[in-house]
């Protein structure tokens, strides 16, 4: 576990922020759920919130809504401490889905909309709109329990979106969705972000996160261990190169490189050498060395998968 959070470049600090979690601390008995958790989420972006099971993601999300009491720390919205009025303009999809099983879905959504300060007619209209949008038209008077698991999930999403929230917090929104459901969810999250909504969601499906999010925070044992733009995290702090030279499956040429230029991280079975470029070193010197060793079949800047980053900073599998 790294002690200092790895951040990807100075652009994070200069960006506008809407949601800030500052030093959130909460213990449950001897278990530390949040240990001074600090990160911020810019508006109009889909922000991924990652971490192994038990890292404190759900507790942090609950803290945003005030449903879990904090021992220390503060949740801020648009530069000031979050208020109850603010929370009425937030949308929440908790990890443990929960709606009334024997209530008709239209009534249910209307009810939840009204609890977020909508008038009854506006809430009803919005409920109909989302029911149609999520492919549930004609099921308005169905009871929730009569719907399939995936459709219940859609209703749960509609419940979070009903009142056109300024902040959308979704705990594992992709869990249990079929590919069509994943596409719908992705499209809706992207659309909301484009409309200026701050979208924060947690997930274990890192391939999906890579695809959906612009930026992420990775937390472990209640602390942020990495955060920043997805592209930056994947590039890493130092540039890496993937080079393959014909006729040298062991990558012997690379081991002769000056360590002040680059060092070998690993050699793959097909002879591709993964190199970490020294700071300020010129990648062309590596190319020169490779060409001197033989025909260069492959030369590129290497990126890590988000899952690799995750494994590195948490020491755990995704």
């Amino acid at each position: 576990m790294t002690a200092t959070p790895a951040t990807a470049g100075p652009e994070v600090a200069s960006r506008e922020v809407s949601l800030e979690l500052i030093g959130l601390t909460r213990r449950f008995g001897s278990v530390v759920a949040l240990d001074g958790l600090t990160f911020s989420v810019p508006p109009g972006e889909v922000f991924g919130f990652l971490g192994p099971n038990g890292a404190g993601k759900t507790t942090a999300m609950r803290a945003i809504f005030g449903v879990v009491a904090l021992e220390a720390g503060q949740v801020r919205w648009r530069g000031r401490p979050v208020t109850e009025e603010d929370r009425h303009r937030f949308g929440y999809m908790p990890e443990e889905r929960g709606l009334y099983p024997s209530m008709q879905i239209l009534d249910q959504l209307e009810y939840l909309g009204r609890l977020h300060d909508m008038t009854a007619p506006a809430a009803r209209a919005a409920a109909r709109g989302w029911i149609g949008r999520l492919g549930l038209a004609g099921r308005e008077s169905a009871k929730l329990e009569a719907l399939s698991h995936g459709n219940q999930q859609r209703v749960q999403l509609a419940a979070a979106l009903m009142h056109d929230p300024e902040l959308l917090v979704l705990d594992e929104p992709f869990a249990g969705l079929d590919p069509g459901g994943v596409d719908d969810m992705t499209a809706i999250l992207a659309e909301r972000a484009r409309a200026g909504v701050t979208v924060l969601f947690s997930s274990h499906q890192l391939d999906l996160v890579e695809h959906v999010c612009e930026a992420v925070a990775i937390i472990h044992r209640g602390r942020v261990v990495a955060q920043g733009a997805v592209a930056g995290l994947e590039r890493g702090a130092r540039s890496r190169l993937a080079v393959r030279v014909a006729g040298d499956p062991a990558g012997g040429w690379a081991r002769r490189l000056d360590p002040r230029v680059a060092t070998v991280e690993r050699v793959d079975a097909d002879g591709t050498v993964l190199l970490v470029l020294a700071p300020d070193a010129d990648s062309q010197r590596v190319l020169d060395a490779a060409r001197a060793a033989g025909a260069v079949e492959h030369f590129s800047f290497a990126t890590r998968r988000l899952s690799e980053v995750f494994r590195e900073v948490t020491g755990e599998d995704a």
Partner: protein, 406 residues
Amino acid sequence: MTAAGPGSRRSANRRWLRLTAIVAEREIRQRVRSRAFAVSTIVLLLVVAAGVTIPAIVAHNAKPQRVGIVGGQAAAMTEIVTEAGHLTGTAVTVVREPSVAAAGAALRSGRLDVVLVDDREVVVKQVSVTGSGGSGGGLPAAIADVAGLSRLLGQLPPGASARGVTLPVRGLTPPAAGLSRRLTGLFTVVLVWILISAYGSQIAMGVGEEKANRIVEVILASVRPIQLLVGKVAGIGILALAQAALMVATFLGLGAAVGSSLVHGAAPGIVITGAVFLVLGYAFYCTAFAAAGSLVSRQSDVGTVILPVQIPLIIAYALSYTVIYANGANAFYHVLGFLPPTAPVAMPVLYAAGDVPAWQAAVSAALVAVGTVWMARTAATIYGRSILRTGSRVRLRQVLARDAGG
């Protein structure tokens, strides 16, 4: 957190009430729509209707009343008794008794129901205070009327007014203080008991459902636990009161229509006392049921956690029958009448049975009101602390031991 001006506070209060009202409205709407509500309302009304009309019908078709006659002209007296039987719709059998003493013995042993002594008096075993609640319905009074009138008719010119000629009706034993009052008291207690336990367990089930389904997490993201709690018990309470009002209206309306003796006993005091303690009892118990419901993590556990809440009610309810059917309450039951958990059931019984004066009922009501405030605070704390706790069932001691920061 918000600006503390009086205007913003007022608008915050309005908002608080509005959200609470939305919660209450959902409770009412969902229940009124359910088949279970329609069925339970109809069943309760049928029970009330049966309770009122069947005794009245039975009284009208009472077993033939055996009327003893002592002295005088047997034929004339038989005619009087038969006429009184016609008037009250009661079949009568006339039996000649040799003496007042013999007739009295027959009354005591139950061989006779009423005795007409010549032109002088009508004797029954026990006079009913309300005049119609005693054995044989209105027969003794009718015999007294007819006999008095026929004695007079022989002496008066035609057209003369015949008022105040009824023979005295004498009872052999002191009158029982309003059996019908007691029965009205019983009706009240049954109503209080049914409504508190039925609606109380609905509250606990509803809270347990919300917790088990985790919908609380969605709702508590926009309302506070106390609003959810108040909205729920207010919504269900309004329904409980509406159902109670319907039952009382049926009781009074049908009772008046069939001339039930139960309704004659429904002195306004008993009805008011019953209503006050119904409201207080609901208020006292509703938050306790909600707190109990918030401890479970599966809905199936609700039955287990509400039993301790119901025990005081069960005790008071079970003992109330002994008070109603025996004459008077013992000291223990009097104590129950002043303890907030048992008073909502015990006090209406004591009052209906005439065992306590009105001021004592008022003192008891005040004690329950104080107890309700305490209970609401405690229950709201328990509810607020345990409603979002998942995992195994929350122990009460755990919840109460935690500091306010939890």
